[in-house]
């Protein structure tokens, strides 16, 4: 099946070439980081995690969010998702690969990464995060590839794949829960020390993952003969709406406890997040942009007219994806470290090399996603599935 990735029109190859150029540029800067150290990033003594770990956290959400098409289809027999479950699973594969790359490029000594397995520390959440992410990657890769091969060869899928699918559903919840535990168990950082972290992560995951799937489906519908079906798109849009609303609700709940409880250490982080602290306001315009995007997206997704219109649906999905990225990419790590435990107000901002290395990982992820989606579409086009809206692949 893999050969299908090597045939495509000019637009396909232009997109592939664009991604390869971004990867090449980013890789050049990664070599610089390799030889000079992480000092070329904006991270420092006070803010010791940055864009890399933030993107990792966000993409764990995207990966976990893919379960929102797998679960309704397999547990509730919701047929409309039959055509897009494979896309959801491959989205999870690409997202988890990006997560693993982000963790790796964030390491000061990447050549020692095997120490994670040579000296496993069962009391470290990071160790468990690597385990759950790796297993989730394997699960989705095996499931999606097997279902697609079976479809391609016009056979019924093997029986062993069903239990794997059932395991992958709670496993999706586990990857974002364990990732939240990296933060929510640190007494040193009051901004993260909240039991609401895992639920917040999951709510935003169930918005950002399906939002990216909506964008991908609309692009595929435009450029290929594949049509995910109106019903599937509308149901995804509803899931995104719920995910976004619950995310906003959780932030309000968190803010109430912090601002009404008035514990100074807790308040300072959230003040920095919303309003800035002592004139340090780098984050403020981003966070308010994020809120505006959330509200706009919720309005577009709740109103049936704008939800059913593909153009406004696309706008809403992009707003959700971008705002969820701001929320995790900037709003999670930076306020966690600012102010520092001794009250130092060191502001972090990524450097140009750091940003280009980050874009490299995204480009690698999108390259993987493109290849898998190209193969999937080619297989589905061959079997003429795009003709009927309700054909189920398994």
């Amino acid at each position: 099946m893999i050969e299908k990735a090597f045939t495509g029109d000019r637009k396909y190859w232009a997109w592939i070439l664009f991604l390869l150029v971004v990867i090449a540029i980013g890789f050049g800067f990664y070599l610089l980081q390799w030889f000079r150290g992480l000092g070329i990033t904006g991270m420092g003594r006070d803010v010791s995690w940055g864009l890399y770990i933030a993107n990792m956290t966000f993409l764990v959400g995207v990966a976990a969010g893919a379960v929102m098409v797998v679960l309704p289809y397999y547990l509730h027999n919701y047929k409309a998702f039959g055509k897009i479950t494979t896309f959801g699973e491959f989205l999870a594969v690409a997202a988890v690969i990006m997560c693993i790359l982000f963790v790796t490029i964030d390491l000061g000594q990447p050549t020692r990464v095997v120490n994670l397995l040579l000296h496993p520390s069962l009391h470290s959440v990071l160790f468990w995060d690597v385990i759950v992410l790796s297993v989730y990657l394997l699960l989705n890769l095996v499931i999606a590839w097997h279902l697609l091969s079976a479809h391609h060869n016009e056979e019924a899928p093997k029986a062993w794949v069903k239990p794997l699918i059932l395991i992958s559903i709670p496993w999706a919840i586990s990857i974002h829960t364990v990732t939240a535990f990296i933060y929510s168990g640190l007494a040193a950082r009051p901004f993260w020390l909240t039991a609401l972290m895992a639920p917040r992560f999951l709510a935003s995951a169930f918005a950002s993952g399906p939002a990216l799937l909506i964008i991908a489906c609309l692009i595929m519908k435009r450029f290929t003969r594949f049509d995910p079906g109106k019903e599937a798109m509308q149901k995804l849009a509803q899931i995104v709406a719920y995910g976004t609303i619950i995310t906003v609700f959780f932030l309000i709940v968190e803010s109430f406890t912090v601002f009404y409880g008035q514990v100074p250490e807790d308040m300072n982080h959230l003040k920095y997040f919303f309003f800035g602290l002592d004139g340090k306001t780098t984050l403020v315009p981003w966070m308010w942009t994020c809120f505006v995007f959330w509200i706009a997206a919720i309005v577009l997704l709740i109103n049936p007219r704008t939800r059913k219109n593909e153009k406004t649906l696309a706008v809403a999905a992009v707003l959700v994806f971008v705002s969820m990225w701001i929320d995790k990419g900037l709003g999670l790590i930076m306020p966690g470290f600012t102010p520092s435990p001794t009250g130092a107000l060191t502001e972090y901002w990524p450097t140009v090399p750091e940003t280009l290395i980050t874009l490299m990982v995204w480009a690698i992820g999108f390259l993987i996603l493109t290849i898998f989606y190209k193969i999937t579409i080619s297989v589905k086009e061959e079997s003429g599935e795009e003709e009927s809206a309700h054909t189920v692949s398994s």
Partner: protein, 254 residues
Amino acid sequence: MDVDRRGFIKIAGIVIVGLAVKPIFDVFSRTEAPKALDAETLTKTRWAMAIKLGACEDGCRECIDACNSIHNVPDFGNPKDEIKWIWTIPYEEVFPEQNSQFIADKLKGLPVTVLCNHCDNPPCARVCPTGATWKRKDGIVMMDYHRCIGCRFCMAACPYGSRSFNWRDPRPFIKELNPDFPTRTKGVVEKCNFCEERLAEGLLPACVEACKEKALVFGNLDDQNSEIRKLLSTNYTIRRKSELGTEPEVYYLI
């Protein structure tokens, strides 16, 4: 041909999974931990430090300089890359919960010496994914610069900012190299080690030895007659963020 390729990929995948899982089994099957140091000395010792507030002379840096030169601590000259083992910060920042509008004049802005607290319940060791930082039986929280992968989880977990990361190669920034102590490489975390290399030779930590004011007192908490035990039982002491349950082993005498 097609089948051969698939078969090969499948077998390769199984081998990789097997290699990844084996060390986990090793951990559970390990019966005895390797003994690096004499068990008896370790169990009878619990190292701690007491710091007398306000005993420092204005602008004195003897303890800091002694530590930096002995441990090859680099000087990058900027706060972003800075490596710190022992340093001073104002009283209000060391003990934010003690701060008030009407704080005693002698405490206002008073430089207080801070270092790794060698916590009895160290969150840094709890989060380390490779066991590169751990608590020794004598209470010293150790760092293995060769095992550290540089994930900086420990820096996020430390409530005292006691850990520094080598954002760049530190070697060109060491003023005068001490060949008796290892230098570090870029990409690893480091911090105060309570001078375990000197304790092994029966010497006091370098900072304690360097202090003319005798503001730093180091000793064994398990020894009832030690100077530090006497100080702790006759003085009012506070510890940094003791409400977090980290049980710091650095005590501040008011």
